[in-house]
Symmetry: C2
């Protein structure tokens, strides 16, 4: 076990340790800026091979985490997400190969203009620099995040949940072995090897070395990072997602979309937490919806009209409408119009994902134009707001910010740009 125990006894050492990682990351990021794409591809492919070849070492490290998990008070669902097996390690390796196959982003000319004076102005994609990524106890995320950050030309400092630290170390060991073989600097991927929570604070105070902080996980973590970070933050906040069933909706379609949005996976950010139903179809739709939701064991907290139409529904409070349940509960409200649905979503929603089910084109256009969310769905499940489903190839998360990156964050969202201007001696008039 390499966790730096001694570091935790001394704030000075911890501060020095974090600064050293940050400095190394910055130095690696300077190399990555002009590293050829084929070197990154070779690294990703060799990493995938080494993960497969060193399956047993990774599983053994994972066993250490699993043995410690009850001591950390993890739930069964959390322990399941922590667990690795040969199938899961194969899917981690395959994901690295998928990222290797994506086209090289760095140096791509995003836009080009020729000015009247002959200057050729290119807007060229460049890396952000150093990413500080804070995430849950999921070993697969360690590999994914490292791959996507480096593919985008960034060095990354990985701060995973302490419950997965041995698994993450075993995975990073393979990434480092592949880096040594392929010519990627090892410091392009660094794992924070202390579980001391103070470490996060030190990193957040180094805007001179770290270009962006990306926290993923609980709301309190994200609030802490946002408050403390001296560099930009890409936030992955709540998903209080809505399905609005318009008066013109096909009720079978509405039922299928609601079932998929709410019941397919309860604990994810793009799961629906609230159902809005147009008053003119409430009589017909809500009893059907009630039966379907109850068949999945979902508790219904509804407005007055909902409670009349679904006998087992309980009255919803103001707070219920503002809550991301991440579990087997849904809030339901009957609304008089699409305008009122939009007002409700603007008031209680979190700007993540909201869907309308409708056959009315004007209602769809209005909903799409006025709902201010990262993704607005028309006749499709909220569960589609996802980098893979959007075809981005890979994602580091789903941003609820409007600044820099919104919605699924893939490789492009981990880059910036610069302007290159080619002249033949032009001077400004």
């Amino acid at each position: 076990m390499r966790v730096i125990e001694s570091v935790e006894s001394s704030v000075k050492n911890l501060s020095e340790y974090c600064t050293q990682l940050a400095l190394q990351a910055k130095a690696a990021s300077r190399v990555l800026v002009s590293l050829k794409g084929e070197v990154k591809v070779a690294w990703l492919r060799r990493s995938a091979e080494l993960l497969r070849e060193n399956l047993q070492a990774i599983l053994q490290a994972n066993r250490l985490d699993l043995e410690a998990a009850p001591g950390y008070g993890l739930t069964d669902a959390e322990i399941d997400r922590l667990r690795l097996d040969p199938v899961r390690i194969e899917s981690i390796a395959a994901a690295l190969e998928d990222i290797a196959a994506l086209s090289e982003p760095i140096g791509q000319v995003i836009h080009s203009t020729v000015r009247p004076n002959g200057l050729v102005i290119n807007k060229v994609r460049v890396p952000l620099g150093v990413v500080f990524f804070i995430y849950e106890s999921r070993p697969n995320v360690t590999a994914d995040a490292a791959a996507i950050c480096v593919k985008a030309g960034n060095a990354v400092i990985l701060r995973g949940g302490k419950e997965a630290i041995h698994s993450s170390q075993a995975i990073v060991d393979q990434l480092h072995a592949a880096a040594r073989e392929s010519g990627v600097p090892c410091d392009a991927v660094q794992l924070v090897e202390t579980i001391d929570r103070e470490a996060v604070g030190y990193f957040l105070q180094m805007p001179q070395y770290i270009d962006v902080a990306i926290p993923r996980g609980g709301e309190s973590l994200i609030r802490r990072v946002t408050a403390e970070a001296e560099m930009p933050v890409i936030k992955h906040f709540n998903g209080n997602c809505h399905v609005y069933v318009d008066e013109s909706a096909d009720l079978r379609m509405a039922l299928a979309i609601l079932e998929n949005s709410k019941c397919q996976r309860l604990g994810v950010c793009n799961a629906t937490e609230s159902l809005l139903v147009h008053v003119d179809i409430a009589n017909e739709f809500l009893p059907l919806a009630g039966n379907m939701l109850e068949s999945h064991g979902i508790e219904i907290r509804g407005c007055e009209r909902t409670c009349e139409l679904i006998p087992r529904a309980v009255p919803a409070t103001e707070e219920d409408f503002a809550t991301e349940f991440l579990g087997p509960i849904i809030s339901v409200s009957v609304v008089p119009s699409v305008e009122d649905a939009i007002v409700h979503i603007t008031r209680y929603g979190s700007g993540h994902t909201d869907a309308i089910v409708t056959h009315n084109l004007l209602a769809a256009q209005k909903f799409v134009a006025e709902v201010d969310s990262a993704a607005v769905m028309v006749n499709a499940s909220t569960r589609f707001n996802d980098g893979g489903e959007f075809g981005l190839g890979a994602e580091i998360g789903i941003s609820t910010d409007k600044f820099h990156a919104r919605g699924p964050c893939g490789i492009e969202e981990l880059t910036s740009y610069k302007y290159t201007v080619f002249g033949a001696g032009q001077t400004r008039k």
Copy 2:
């Protein structure tokens, strides 16, 4: 004089005043999201007309500012930038018409994908929301910033330098009159009508209403805003810009680019502050450069070799190389190679604008790839890093950030995007 004197005697009132402006801006921004482009165009054109029709009222307000200017200790150059005359007001009006003529940005589909399951995923340009813009005592910027923010669908809170407040009020009066006629909400453009510096702090604490803060002006202002702001900030920091003259440069071209970069305007962010010269051409180039710079009254602070070759040069300190002089001083260093020029720029530069003069393609490619600045010029003046020169139509400033917006910030940089997903009942597998 409408400056709210009474507000300044009461922090509670000031806080309420700022909150009221922010709330009004947020409400206006909701209207702007789906305002038709032609309404914004009509507003901009009518604003231009009203500025011309009300020339005398604006000049009279400007006289109040000019009379007060010596009391604020403004320099002659600052007073000149504050001064309005019929020609300058015409150019403000013409700029509004130019912005009116730009294509409508909001609703534009930036990217579109059709997924294998038939979902049509559009990435659509949307406004950021509310912009809080803090700027210098330049009345023309009041009109420009209002126009570009609203064209991008944002409400703006304008906090201009106190020395220009009467001129800015007179201009905003015309924008409001045009808004009433054309159907743009008046609160889309609000001027902070108190000169109390505390007001800035209140606005920076309202991330729930204000989506981005854009400070322009001195470094201390920008540092304060960055430290206090609870919303994203687009920073316009130092321009410690370089011209590097490579061994293969055409010396006449190099001299012309240096003269334009350094001497055309001394006090602007894209003016050059430092000259780097390859050792193999220093003997030939530096005496020429010395004569040219001295003919413009520029003081030369150089390395040892520079001082040998330019008799009137004085020795440069470490700090000189890190300084944005914004005046008639230049630092000069002889470097052994393009690599060393890049190392020098990485160490002392501010990531704003850096130029290479060369006939060597590999040197140009290396410089462009490795200099991490918003704009990298090849055989062109650093003075070209400008929204107008880049063809953006208008700019609110030049960002030194890498996050969200880099380099000249035009209308697109004041927008975000959302994903709209159109299906026919798709659910996720």
